[in-house]
């Protein structure tokens, strides 16, 4: 009989015979398994994380990494949109200032169009026009954090400089436009082209101003002609201003959708990475009970034997 496997001839292998070593081993394995589940539940509740190590939830890990990457991008977009708002606000105030100057220039030009002006009065008007130039230069050189908002990517902090009495745009060595990425795939230009806002060459506000100065001195007819020049400059300025306003609204919209996106990403990340506290606590107490039950069962593992009934 010893040659035949008892595990084959026995009724069901494991259940065939009840041995001391066998039942002790089974009880021990039960305790170890219950303890492992309990300790994992404790880990989750104490750390607050559903994914203690990546293998706990591979798909969750992948998702969490993706969500974290997207959240980091949203943080960059949020910072960039604050920066863009700063640029556009500074641009608006620069355009506001320039428009005040140009309106004053227009008033002066209209005044100079009157035939009643004496030569001396014209000289005074011309001096005032001259004075506006300084103010206009300041407006066109508006800066934000040390960078000229109309200067594009010039290395200096200025968009225009006065050289030998003539105001000229500074040289732009870079790409010419300053852009901020504000959403996935969306870039918004935050500077404003000086050519668009202030004209270039003959149409440049400074050229216009120089011409107005000459016209004011020359006489009423010339001044009336120069008025069209000034109106042209004002028109360009208004167009640029409208453009800035549009972009300002766009940045605002992008920021608010970005915040929404950020919130939903944070919620999704929490859903993947963090535990549902109520559920985890329930599981914890369940595993605790299971562990205690395993211990209790092990205490009774030495089943009564016939020895208890023999004297």
């Amino acid at each position: 009989m010893s040659g035949v496997s008892a595990s084959l001839t026995g009724a069901s292998g494991l259940g065939g015979r009840s041995t001391l070593v066998g039942s002790a081993g089974a009880a021990q394995a039960g305790i170890a398994a219950a303890a492992a589940r309990y300790s994992r539940a404790v880990d989750q509740v104490s750390s607050g994380r559903a994914i203690v190590q990546p293998s706990d939830d591979v798909i969750g890990t992948d998702k969490a990494l993706g969500l974290r990457q997207a959240l980091a991008a949203e943080e960059r977009y949020a910072r960039a949109s604050t920066d863009a708002t700063g640029w556009l606000s500074a641009t608006e105030s620069g355009l506001d200032q320039a428009s005040t100057v140009l309106n004053r220039l227009r008033d002066l030009t209209v005044q100079a169009g009157s035939d009643a002006m004496s030569a001396q009065e014209r000289t005074i008007l011309a001096t005032e026009v001259r004075g506006l130039r300084e103010e206009l230069l300041q407006a066109t050189n508006t800066t934000y954090l040390g960078r000229s908002v109309f200067g594009g990517t010039t290395g200096t902090g200025k968009a225009f400089v006065e050289v030998d009495g003539v105001v000229e745009p500074t040289e732009d060595l870079g790409a010419g436009a300053v852009r901020r990425a504000l959403a996935p795939g969306v870039e918004v230009r935050v500077d404003t082209s000086r050519a668009q806002a202030f004209g270039e060459g003959d149409t440049s506000v400074f050229a216009v101003l120089d011409r107005v100065e000459a016209a004011v001195t020359a006489g009423s007819a010339e001044s009336s002609t120069a008025l069209a020049d000034v109106d042209g400059a004002l028109g360009r300025l208004r167009t640029a201003w409208t453009d800035v306003g549009t972009r300002y609204a766009q940045v605002d919209r992008l920021r608010s959708t970005g915040e929404d996106r950020s919130l939903s990403l944070t919620a999704a990340k929490a859903g993947v990475e963090e535990i549902d506290l109520a559920k985890s606590l329930m599981e914890l107490s369940m595993h605790e009970k299971a562990y205690q039950a395993a211990l209790g069962a092990a205490a009774k593992v030495v089943t009564p034997t016939i020895m208890d009934f023999l004297r």
Binding site: S7, T19, Q53, P54, V58, L65, A72, A80, R147, R180
Partner: protein, 454 residues
């Protein structure tokens, strides 16, 4: 028919029952001994003497004798356990190695490489917004610091992988010593079993000790055993004999001593005498696999991520490179460093051009950028670790069940031993009663004959 035959019949029973009770006692004494195999006294009735030619009349048997004390082994369950424990050891060791690997990722968390990469892209983005002046200088310092942080994280990953390799190699060395000492002990026990059996005495307890050792070898190197007719066993590793009866061979670990050589020469376990590679399973199988494939692959993964960080950032930045190898060679995870002076960090071509900084910050969103490479790498190993953990728990359950089957068929059931003991005790009492009866009969015959009526 001898007058005194009744006495010798009773005596044979007394002796046999006492022997049987001793065996039952030995079984009960070892009810909790791990690896003990229960024994059974096989009794045989002794036939009467064949009568001489022409003799008539009846003969009775000559009582009872112990035919053998059998060791109730279960070869099938034992070899099933050998295979299952080898598999379980392989699977759980492999899962352990992968768990160590993935613990090094620290993902998903705020300390992982992805968070560090995110901080680096944010620093470049910041430089793109503030390329000039004091703000620009500060942004450049941040770019260098966050780049160095990325490099340091990758260096730490490479270092951890290399030290895991060394740990595993040390463990394999310890295992080699253990295997050699166990196989030596098995051959010694084989010799003692054969010698004891030759004298006619049972060597069951020695065989038990030996089988426990064989099972240890199964877990260590995936060994299986085959019994010989003389009671000794051969131990086989991958089909080749590690222990052949009373002679044991030794094994040794062959391969590089440090991880740097792991790429070219795999680590293996070889037989010392022939130099042939042993197809080891068990713990040793998983350890050699970790040393030859898994850990070098992990290191290559770290290197790929490091190379993609260095190449992609350097290409967009231009000269001088942001990331370099500390040793001047090719960029690896172990050598990656960002030691560029902050003043040399360029945002763009000139002036306030920020095309370079913007392009580098844009790497954050590209599918095959460093983030994507890292994610593929980390999630890939998390998947492998998860699968290995599932396999390990299945293999451990199978091994536990095989152990249960073997225990159920070979360990001691105290109840049945008690019943046996009762049976033998009653049989002993009966034999003693027979002795008394024969004694009384002889008393009548010898002392009372001829005194009737006196």
């Amino acid at each position: 028919m001898s007058t005194f035959q009744g006495l010798s019949v009773a005596l044979s029973s007394l002796q046999t029952q006492r022997r049987a009770m001793e065996v039952a006692g030995q079984n009960v004494a070892n009810a909790a001994t791990p690896g003990y195999t229960r024994q059974r006294t096989d009794m045989v009735s002794l036939p009467g003497t064949t009568s001489s030619i022409g003799s008539r009349g009846w003969t009775t048997g000559q009582g009872v004798a112990v035919a053998q004390v059998a060791r109730l082994t279960d070869r099938l369950a034992a070899s099933r356990l050998e295979l299952a424990s080898g598999d379980a050891a392989t699977a759980s060791t492999r899962a352990g190695v992968l768990a160590t690997v993935q613990a090094g990722f620290a993902e998903p968390s705020d300390d992982g490489l992805q968070a560090k990469l995110g901080a680096m892209w944010a620093a470049w983005d910041n430089l793109a917004q503030q390329p000039v002046g004091d703000a620009g200088a500060a942004a450049r310092v941040t770019v260098v610091a966050s780049s160095e942080e990325v490099a340091a994280t990758l260096r730490a990953g490479a270092e951890r992988t290399a030290s895991t390799w060394t740990d595993v190699r040390t463990e394999l060395g310890t295992l080699e010593t253990e295997v050699n000492s166990i196989s030596q002990s098995i051959s010694e026990l084989n010799r003692m079993v054969v010698a004891t059996t030759a004298t006619g005495a049972p060597a069951h307890e020695l065989a038990d000790q030996r089988d426990v050792l064989v099972r240890q070898l199964s877990a260590l190197v995936g060994a299986t055993s085959a019994e010989r007719p003389d009671g000794s066993v051969d131990v086989l590793v991958g089909g080749e004999k590690l222990v052949s009866g009373q002679t044991a061979r030794t094994v040794a670990v062959s391969g590089p001593a440090a991880m740097t050589g792991a790429g070219t020469a795999p680590t293996s376990v070889v037989f010392t005498d022939t130099g042939a590679t042993a197809a080891v399973g068990g713990t040793a199988g998983a350890l050699t696999e970790a040393l030859s494939t898994t850990l070098p692959d992990v290191m290559a993964g770290y290197d790929r991520v490091a190379a993609s960080v260095a190449t992609q950032v350097n290409d967009l930045h231009g000269d001088p490179p942001v990331f370099t190898a500390a040793d001047g060679g090719a960029v690896t995870a172990a050598s990656l460093t960002a030691s560029i002076p902050p003043g040399d960090v360029r945002a763009g071509t000139a002036g306030t051009d920020v095309s370079a900084a913007q392009a580098i910050a844009g790497l954050a969103g590209t599918a095959d950028g460093p983030d994507g490479q890292w994610r593929t790498f980390a999630v890939g190993y998390a998947g492998e670790a998860s699968a290995a953990i599932v396999r390990a728990s299945a293999a451990e359950a199978a091994a536990a069940s095989a152990q249960g089957v073997l225990t159920a068929s070979t360990a001691v059931d105290v109840d049945s031993e008690m019943v046996d003991l009762l049976t033998f005790q009653r049989a002993y009492e009966g034999a003693a009663r027979v002795l008394t009866a024969v004694d009384e009969m002889l008393d009548t015959l010898i002392n009372r004959t001829g005194v009737v009526g006196r």
